[in-house]
């Protein structure tokens, strides 16, 4: 009697579970096809030589060996590192200063917050083309047509007028500054939200103890903000290392080696020279570097929290 009841009961449960599973089926289906499969295909392709059509040849780790000696690739990594460094220092310092300024009782706080987040909602294509126009190096009747060069002439610095985006000495810095212009609003919003969670009483206590505003800032605000700062740092690194659409749209005279970053290298391996295997090897290496860096920083931030 008991043995008969169990299977029926189990069947009811499993049919119920199946109906529940139907809820996640669309998500799991789309995710498997467009994420899981390409994810593994990336590793698979990185071990092959393939032109995008025709037969694939298995070459083992040859793509990675080639990549190890690829100077253009490693210098592109350096360029991304430079953009990231400026984002980490200049952009985040600005974001933090603005957040601290807006955290106090100040008029028009909402207006400032509203405006600072406009550049982040614009697309990289818009920002790139717009700043390309502002930094435009063309001349008409001996007068520079780009706004920036025009202003340099107006303020009496005509010596500085030049092609900011094609000169190797200034191109990367221009990219980094435009990237910072687009990105500081993110950091600002997150840091401001972090600042607002700090208990006001801590400031009162510091005041009663006779701490000046500078001391309070370093001994109360900054330590309390470490977790939020670490999140912003990790997101800044991941975002800035992978920037590339901005560069494609900002530097419109075509890609030149001194403005290449890893993702533009991957893109041109794929769509310019048709080395799909090599492109995937580059993507794998770059992805691993990013994962290692972000997990190292995350464990560092966890350790700082415990300390």
């Amino acid at each position: 009697m008991f043995s008969k009841a169990v299977p029926r009961h189990n069947q009811a449960i499993s049919f119920d579970a199946f109906k529940n599973f139907l809820f996640v089926l669309p998500a799991v289906g789309i995710f498997s096809i467009f994420y899981i499969y390409p994810f593994f295909d990336l590793f698979n392709l990185s071990l092959h030589q393939w032109q995008g059509i025709g037969p694939k040849t298995f070459v083992g780790l040859q793509n990675f060996q080639e990549l190890w000696g690829d100077k253009v690739w490693w210098s592109s990594m350096g360029h991304a590192g430079y953009i990231t460094l400026i984002a980490l220092t200049f952009q985040n310092a600005l974001a933090f200063a603005l957040a601290v300024a807006c955290d106090r009782e100040i008029r028009m706080k909402r207006f400032y917050t509203l405006i600072f987040f406009i550049p982040p909602v614009l697309s990289e294509v818009i920002v790139g083309i717009l700043w390309n126009w502002i930094l435009n190096a063309g001349t008409q009747n001996g007068q520079p047509i780009g706004l920036f060069n025009h202003l340099l002439v107006q303020v009496g610095l005509p010596n500085l007028v030049h092609n900011w985006l094609s000169d190797p000495a200034s191109a990367l810095t221009c990219i980094a500054v435009v990237h910072a212009w687009k990105g500081f609003g993110w950091g600002f919003i997150m840091l401001l939200a972090g600042l607002q969670t700090i208990d006001r009483q801590l400031y009162e206590v510091a005041k009663v103890d006779g701490a000046g505003s500078w001391t309070t800032f370093w001994n109360v605000t900054v330590p309390m903000m470490v977790p939020v700062i670490m999140v912003v740092v990790i997101l800044t690194i991941l975002g800035s290392m992978q920037v590339f659409v901005l560069i494609l749209s900002l530097v419109n005279q075509g890609l030149v080696y001194h403005t290449e970053v890893p993702v533009t290298r991957i893109l041109s391996s794929m769509s310019v020279t048709n080395q799909f295997g090599y492109a995937c090897a580059q993507a794998v290496v770059f992805g691993i570097i990013l994962v290692v860096v972000s997990f190292a920083l995350k464990s560092l931030s966890n350790r700082m929290k415990q300390a």
Partner: protein, 286 residues
């Protein structure tokens, strides 16, 4: 009273702060103003007239961009992609998040962790295998292919956001709906979704911005001019041998205005989504 030293000090302090903030405000807004201003110049004056406000406003640039510049098509495409992707994400992710939070089936937690893990792993260059896959599936140069890809892009974050929301939701309403004879799908539709409106707002806005601004997949998957969204169209226009700058600036403005308008209208939700730590806190869930 008026000469109170402390007060004067405070006044100067906040004046300085306002000056600092205002400089940043101007540097945010001026490039955008310059874009609109340049879009109203004519081809004859744009290179020689440095004035802030053009003497003649050439609104015709917008007409040229819209008709000859093909922006009518790009704009329509962007609308189609944004609306269908966002609707797709809302349905697919809310069904999944509801099940992950409220229903039981084997492998549930494992599946959920895969979605979370996928979000933590940065995947640069994922466009290469995706392009290969879409080629195999013959979905290159189809609206459906691009829409499915973009649904996948927004899926993980939306599921995580909604699941956290459903987890916090009290289950009394669901229980009484079940008593009234509602089945699972009815509970999802009549109870869970309406209650999740605040989280859905964040998802809708975040994904709308994301799809409207997306460039690289649109470039690789859509080479047919009639299927391109705005971002791709702008780059096509920008890459022309002789760039018609006033018309290009008109195109930029037309692309930027909807997104800025949505941002102004929904500002509260965007800031809430960002600062609640759901988006930024992904790397720090502990």
């Amino acid at each position: 009273m008026f000469f109170n030293k402390h007060k004067i000090e405070n006044f100067f302090k906040s004046a300085l702060i306002h000056v600092f903030l205002m400089i940043v405000v101007v540097s945010c807004l001026f490039p955008i103003f310059w874009m609109v201003r340049s879009s109203l110049m004519s081809n004859a004056t744009i290179f020689v007239d440095p004035s802030l406000i053009p003497q003649e406003l050439h609104w015709s640039n917008y007409v040229v961009a819209w008709t000859k510049g093909n922006f009518a098509v790009y704009f329509l495409n962007s609308m189609i992609y944004t609306i269908s992707v966002v609707m797709g994400i809302v349905v697919v992710s809310s069904l999944a998040a509801f099940a992950f939070s409220r229903l039981k089936f084997p492998g549930r937690d494992f599946l959920f962790y895969i979605f979370v893990a996928a979000m933590m792993i940065p995947l640069p260059g994922s466009f290469v295998p995706i392009f290969v896959l879409m080629n195999k599936l013959h979905l290159v140069n189809t609206r459906l292919g691009y829409i499915l890809c973009m649904i996948n892009v927004g899926l993980c974050l939306s599921i995580l956001l909604l699941k956290t929301f459903f987890d916090k939701m009290p289950s009394d309403l669901e229980d009484s709906a079940r008593m009234d004879g509602c089945n699972r799908i009815q509970i999802w539709w009549h109870v869970a979704l309406p209650l999740a409106a605040p989280a859905l707002a964040v998802i809708v806005i975040y994904n709308s911005l994301n799809v409207w601004n997306e460039y690289i997949l649109a470039t690789l998957l859509l080479s047919d001019n009639n299927l391109m969204p705005l971002q791709r169209g702008l780059m096509v226009f920008n890459g022309a041998y002789q760039v018609d700058y006033p018309v290009l600036m008109a195109g930029l403005t037309m692309t930027a205005v909807p997104i800025i308008a949505i941002y102004f209208l929904m500002q509260k939700h965007i800031v809430k989504g960002l600062s609640s730590g759901t988006i930024g806190g992904l790397y720090d869930p502990a």
